[in-house]
Amino acid sequence: MASGNPTTGEYIAHHLTNLTYGRHPDGTWGFAETQEQINAMGFWSINVDSMGWALLLGVTFCALFYAAARKATAGVPGGLQNFVETIVEFVDDLVASIFTHKNTLIAPMALTIFVWVFLMNLMDLIPVDWIPMLASALGVHYMKVVPTTDPNVTLGMALAVFVLMLYYSIKCKGVGGFFGELAFHPFPKWLAPLNLFLEGVTLLAKPLSLGLRLFGNMYAGEMIFILLVLLYTSWFWAPVGGLLQWGWAVFHVLIITLQAFIFAVLTVVYLAQAHDVPEDH
């Protein structure tokens, strides 16, 4: 922390602020120093920490799995290949049980989501102060290390999934078929506007809930870690805080895996729905 002894509110706010690079209102680009500056930047800003960690973890995933893929042999597999194959087989079985259409993109996408989101969630288990303090020592004021606690990240992924949903819906059903699905359901055709409204909400709710569910879970988890840190201010409560943090971390192992799994499964489900061509109309 930059300034000697922050208040509780400052401490929490500091932990929840992204390192932001963007366009200042005066037209110049640069890092934001305060929350006000971030707010002033509006849309034209980048959460450098979220993006950086997300990229780093994504590249880690790609590098690790690419190393395994390049040396993949049908003979006796090595340790890395075993590890990678276990995950690949798990995802493959999962996708095969949900997604019955012919599309080779879905399974690799589910794998990417599962592993990448898991890695991003995993950052939550690193004690909340380590990396921000290190960054602070290196002169970086803000550092939020868990990309999935940034709605931009989770909603960004959900947006990409949404775009793919629309793409495959139109590809498989045609523009008319897709429109028909939205307009002629659940009420008769003459109530098309009402149908469009209802189905539109349903459609938009999919990516929105997808992104917000992950964000909400991770944000809440991160918040609890931060709040438990506050117990360290008292000598008496510090061991209790440590114990609670440990307990929460153990529980969180389940949550981060589960959330990565849910994100991957729901993506596959949504894309399977996009591929479904209804037979009754």
Binding site: F43, W44, S50, M51, L55, T104, A107, W116, A160
Partner: protein, 156 residues
């Protein structure tokens, strides 16, 4: 926590990672796994086949052994029968030979007897005459009594 450009960048990043995984990771790992599965399946099938072959070969070997034993038993049986037969034949031959020898010997004996009889017959006349001469103390006219003497000799 505004929605910012980060959102778009994250979408693009996500799609790039997905594309990378799709093109350069997934197919290779899945192919390797499928191929290994196939290899293992083939190996298992081959071992099963080999097991069946082995059982078959063992069956065949057992059959052949049994056949060989039967044949050997048959041969031994035949040999024994043949031996008995040969002994029997040898006995018969020996018996026949013995009979024949006996026959020959008997014939020779008969011949000898006949010859001796002939010899005796020749001498009996002389002896009888000599005896009669001695008994009668007179000389008997050999010429006159020749018929009588010959008759006597033939009766011997």
């Amino acid at each position: 926590m505004n929605l910012t450009l980060t959102l778009i960048l994250q979408s693009v990043t996500f799609l790039v990672f997905v594309w990378f995984c799709w093109k350069f990771i997934w197919p290779f790992i899945i192919d390797a796994m499928r191929e290994r599965q196939k290899t293992i399946a083939e190996g298992l099938a081959a071992s099963e086949r080999a097991e069946k072959d082995l059982a078959l070969a063992q069956q065949r070997a057992a059959d052949q052994l049994k056949d060989a034993k039967d044949e050997a038993r048959q041969i031994i049986e035949q040999a024994r029968l043949r031996a008995i037969q040969m002994i029997e034949e040898a006995k018969n031959d020996a018996r026949a030979e013995g009979e024949r020898q006996k026959e020959v010997a008997r014939a020779e004996i008969d011949q000898e007897v006949n010859r001796a009889k002939e010899a005796l017959r020749g001498q009996v006349a002389t002896l009888a005459v000599a005896g009669a001469e001695r008994i009668l103390k007179a000389s008997v006219d050999r010429g006159r009594h020749a018929d009588l003497l010959n008759k006597l000799a033939a009766e011997l």
